[in-house]
């Protein structure tokens, strides 16, 4: 091979690698947060599937699924294992919050009421009102900050859900222990709360949360920011203008910019997300069928 040709080849390869260099994207979630979300998805869907077989035990679906999961006993073990994962996610997140407080905040107060806080505040209320106005055509789309009010709602819904479902679930897991403190009939109450709250969580996540966060028409086919942790800068400007402006003003934007993942990674993520979505929708259909047409 002549030398000139080789040099040409090297030149072209270098050119290709320069042009294929991924764009820089805004980092919205840390690696731990993304891992926690994936763990949450897996454990949540597992909990939902195994739990609902019991709640809707009267449907053919439930019997079939229970059978697929290796019988009820095995389904129960899977449910409890998934619950442990969920508790793990919850505890890890609390630890992460504690570390965040140590790293970036001087006091708990600043963590809770600071600018990046998930705790709803006056601005959220104003934005809610403005959003409703926008919906009915009485105003422009509000300039949302880092966390919108529906994102904050989803976040605390999970807190509430873990508290309610987790505590009742533990009671039902260790009934002999808990009835040392509470009457036996509270187990019946716990059952109702556990299962109905689970129904609420499942139904809400697989419909409202899916729509609000992943499936909004303008983001169709899917917003995968929570998996990659990154979002295009334009999207940040469009979706979270207030945050963008704050970052630009503070001059910290560059700190948050990182290279996007190669397409193979995003494709894998999409496949996973679609699978989760499909399972979620199936569960919703099953719930609707069980509640409306087969309820006893």
């Amino acid at each position: 091979m002549p030398n000139g040709e080789l040099a040409d080849l090297v030149e072209r390869a270098a050119e290709r690698s320069r042009t294929a260099r991924p764009e820089l994207q805004f980092v919205r979630f840390t690696r731990l947060q993304r891992i926690l979300h994936i763990c949450m998805i897996v454990s949540f869907i597992t909990l939902a599937l195994t739990g609902l077989t019991l709640k809707f035990s009267y449907t053919k679906w439930a019997a079939m699924l229970s059978h697929l999961l290796g019988g009820f006993e095995s389904a129960g073990n899977i449910h409890r294992s998934a619950a442990i994962v969920m508790f793990g996610v919850f505890v890890t997140h609390l630890v992460d919050l504690y570390r965040l407080k140590k790293r970036e905040h001087t006091s708990w107060r600043s963590l809770v009421f600071g600018p990046g806080s998930m705790v709803p505040n006056r601005t959220d209320l104003a934005e809610l009102v403005a959003t409703l106005k926008w919906f009915v055509g009485l105003g422009k789309r509000p300039a949302y900050g880092r966390w919108t009010y529906w994102e904050k709602f989803d976040y605390f819904a999970v807190f509430w859900g873990i508290a309610v479902i987790g505590s009742t679930g533990l009671t039902l897991w260790f009934p002999v222990f808990f009835t040392r403190f509470i009457p036996g009939s509270f187990l019946n109450v716990a059952t109702i709360i556990h299962s109905d709250e689970a129904l609420l969580a499942t139904g809400f996540i697989f419909t409202v949360h899916f729509f609000n966060t992943h499936l909004r028409p303008e983001k169709f086919p899917m917003d995968i920011t929570v998996f990659t942790g990154r979002m295009p800068l334009e999207e940040l400007k469009r979706d979270k203008p207030r945050e963008y402006e704050a970052l630009v003003a503070s001059g910290k934007l560059e700190e948050y910019m990182e290279e996007a993942y190669p397409p193979i990674v995003t494709r894998t993520i999409r496949a996973f997300a679609w699978a989760a979505l499909a399972v979620g929708f199936s569960i919703v259909l099953w719930i609707i069928y069980a509640v409306l047409f087969a309820y006893r």
Binding site: L54, W134, V176, D196, L200, E218, K237
Partner: protein, 680 residues
């Protein structure tokens, strides 16, 4: 030494015999002499009064004749003894003498007296039975003659009537005493023995005493009795000495005598008192039958049915000691074809009488009575010449073969199954799969087969109160084997005696089914039992399925508590009963079977709760509706929010698409692109 002893004892025996003979001769001479001397006037003194027919006395308010016929007495065997020979207590007494004591015949007739004392009659007297006969009742008093003398009260021709005084219908004895035989005198007089004795005057024909003895009359159960099973052959062979030759098939001489107990004894075939010469057909022996019936080609002219009888088959059968003519009665040996006189088929009840009576009342027998062609008779189940006992593994009625036997008609599609209108179907298939069927297949012959529950000969439909499988009889029937369980069941709330409930209560088969009984630790049973209990306990079963145990059970989890795990199975009792597994004292232990460490408070879990009943379970009801409200509100708010958003979101999408299209049309620097987007 030994030799001298033997020689000495021989010598002694010889001397004893000589002395005895001499003494006997002297004694007989003396006794021969005495009547000659005393015959002149036996008891003349006494007859002065007692020879007068008007001599009477009053005993217990009744006038009793004291007349003694002097002439008869003078000719009687006791004439030589005079009156005081028997009425010894009047010896030397002058008139008026006291009432004499009862004459003791045994003073002279010691041997007879001994026999009599041991006999049925003697024991009755000893008990004070007023109806029991004494010597005088059979033999008379002053007119006793030798037995051979036709004037004797116990002359052979008279014996049946002497005994018949008591042993015939209508007498106080026959009415008041338990005697297994009936119509004794009547039957006897019609029997071959009675006919010979009474009608033909054949004095050697047996009378009552020939078989029963005169003085040693004992019940046939007494081993010493002449009519005991072990002794009857000896009794009969006193006359029928070579009877084995006639009974060459039925009895083998040597066995008959040595082991009478293993063979049928005479009365087994020849019923006592009814012995006939017609029924057993002049000794028609099998060999005579087999002259023709051993031919394999032999067939009936009428319909071509094979009339071949396999000797091998018969000789291995249960009836190999029964003669052909015992079953095929009505043969007549005087015919060239002895069987041509047969008019009826084989009637097994001539021997198997009890079973015959049961069969007639059974559904099979009832149908047979109506000439139903489908009705099974004895031979359909038991076979004919090759009949075997039910203990024989080759027998069609051997436990392992019974289901197959019944299946011939009761298998689905067969004649009995086709006409059956009840609820039980595929009974044979179900039975074969059942626990009983499986055990039977594995060779456990004591397990239940068809006949264990339905009986062999008294099969009746379930609706019949006399049926073994009638609801009222089922617990007892199953309890034959499952005794402990029956005991528990009879003390449970499901027993009428305990609950006092008038409606029909469940019995074994209501929960365990009739033919598809499975082990209760099998999954199918554990998963179906709630539906089973739920047939009656509808409400409680429905609410069970609303709680944890019920839900997981429905998903096929066999370990979760089923009805009987808590309530008990056969010993189920009202929860208010202190003995119940769920009473205040027992409930924690019951829960503890699965939930180790369960307490009374743990047992407060409502296993049959529903959140649909605000009256009974208000807190569950309100919790449920509270949660439902929360759910609905959340979904409505979330839903409305999303729906309102949707049009705006689409609008945004369109704007984005438009901007992208614009970008594509005039590619620019990323900075200007960003700027445009922000403006939009």
């Amino acid at each position: 030494m030994a030799e001298t002893n033997i020689a000495r004892s021989k010598w002694r025996a010889g001397l004893g015999a000589i002395i005895a003979t001499l003494l006997a001769a002297v004694f007989s001479l003396v006794s021969w002499e005495r009547p000659v001397r005393a015959a002149d006037q036996p008891g003349a003194e006494c007859l002065a009064c007692h020879g007068d027919k008007s001599t009477t006395t009053t005993r217990a308010g009744k006038t009793v004749s004291l007349y003694v016929d002097g002439k008869k007495f003078a000719t009687s065997v006791h004439a030589s003894f005079g009156c005081t020979g028997c009425h010894a207590d009047l010896e030397g007494k002058d008139f008026p003498h006291p009432t004499p004591a009862r004459v003791q015949c045994g003073t002279c007739h010691t041997a007879e007296q001994e026999q009599y004392t041991r006999s049925l009659h003697g024991k009755a007297i000893a008990r004070g039975d007023a109806l029991a006969p004494r010597c005088v009742n059979c033999h008379g008093n002053h007119d006793i003659y030798p037995v051979k003398d036709s004037r004797s009260a116990v002359a052979p021709l008279k014996v049946p009537f002497v005994c018949g005084q008591c042993h015939q219908e209508g007498t106080p004895v026959s009415r008041n005493r338990t005697i297994a035989q009936d119509n004794i005198l009547e039957n006897y007089s019609e029997s071959i023995h009675g006919e010979a004795l009474l009608k033909k005057g054949l004095a050697v024909a047996p009378n009552c005493a020939t078989c029963h003895t005169a003085h040693s009359i004992l019940p046939h159960t007494d081993p010493a009795s002449s009519i005991n099973r072990r002794n009857i052959a000896a009794t009969c062979t006193k006359c029928h000495s070579q009877i084995e030759i006639v009974h060459r098939k039925i009895i083998r001489g040597e066995l008959w005598e040595k082991q009478a107990n293993v063979l049928p004894s005479c009365p087994d075939c020849h019923q006592p008192h009814k012995i006939r010469n017609v029924f057993y057909d002049l000794g028609m022996a099998n060999a005579d039958c087999m002259r023709c019936h051993a031919d394999e080609k032999l067939h009936r002219a009428r319909d071509g049915k094979s009339m071949y009888v396999s000797v091998g088959e018969v000789s291995h059968s249960r009836h190999n000691k029964i003669a052909c003519s015992q079953c095929h009665s009505e043969v007549n040996a005087s015919h060239v074809r002895p069987c041509e006189t047969i008019t009826r088929g084989v009637d097994c009840t001539s021997c198997h009488d009890e079973i015959g009576k049961l069969y007639v009342t059974s559904i099979h027998g009832q149908l047979n009575g109506k000439n139903d062609p489908n009705a099974p008779t004895c031979k359909e189940c038991h076979g004919t010449h090759g009949i075997l006992g039910k203990q024989d593994p080759q027998s069609s009625t051997f436990a392992v073969n019974v289901p197959g036997l019944c299946a011939r008609c009761h298998r689905e599609g067969q004649k009995a199954a086709v006409r059956y209108t009840g609820m039980q179907h595929e009974i044979i298939a179900n039975y074969t799969e059942s626990i009983h069927g499986t055990l039977l297949k594995n060779g456990l012959t004591v397990t239940a087969t068809c006949t264990s529950c339905h009986t062999a000969h008294h099969i009746l439909p379930r609706s019949d109160p006399a049926s073994s499988v009638n609801a009222n009889n089922v617990p007892t029937m199953c309890g034959q084997c499952h005794h402990g369980i029956e005991e528990q069941f009879e003390n449970s709330i499901h027993a009428k005696r305990v609950s006092g409930y008038s409606k029909p209560l469940p019995v074994c088969n209501d929960c365990h089914t009739a033919h598809s009984i499975h082990r209760t630790d099998e999954n199918s049973f554990r998963l179906n039992v709630m539906t089973t209990c739920g047939r009656c306990h509808e409400q409680i079963a429905a609410t069970y399925f609303e709680t944890y145990h019920g839900k997981v059970s429905r998903l096929g989890y066999t370990k979760a508590a089923k009805c009987y795990d808590c309530h008990g199975a056969h010993d189920v009792l009202a929860v208010t009963d202190p003995r119940s597994h769920l009473s205040r004292t027992n409930v924690a232990a019951t829960c503890g079977k699965c939930h180790a460490g369960a307490t009374r408070r743990f047992a407060g879990y409502l296993t049959h709760a529903t959140h649909h009943d605000p009256r009974k379970y208000p807190f569950l009801f309100y919790t449920f509706w509270g949660m439902t409200t929360l759910l609905l509100v959340t979904f409505v708010v979330g839903g409305v929010h999303t729906l309102l958003w949707l049009p705006r979101a689409f609008q945004m999408r369109q704007e984005l698409r438009a901007a992208e299209a614009e970008d594509a049309a005039k590619p620019e620097t990323p900075a200007s692109k960003n700027k445009e987007n922000t403006d939009a």
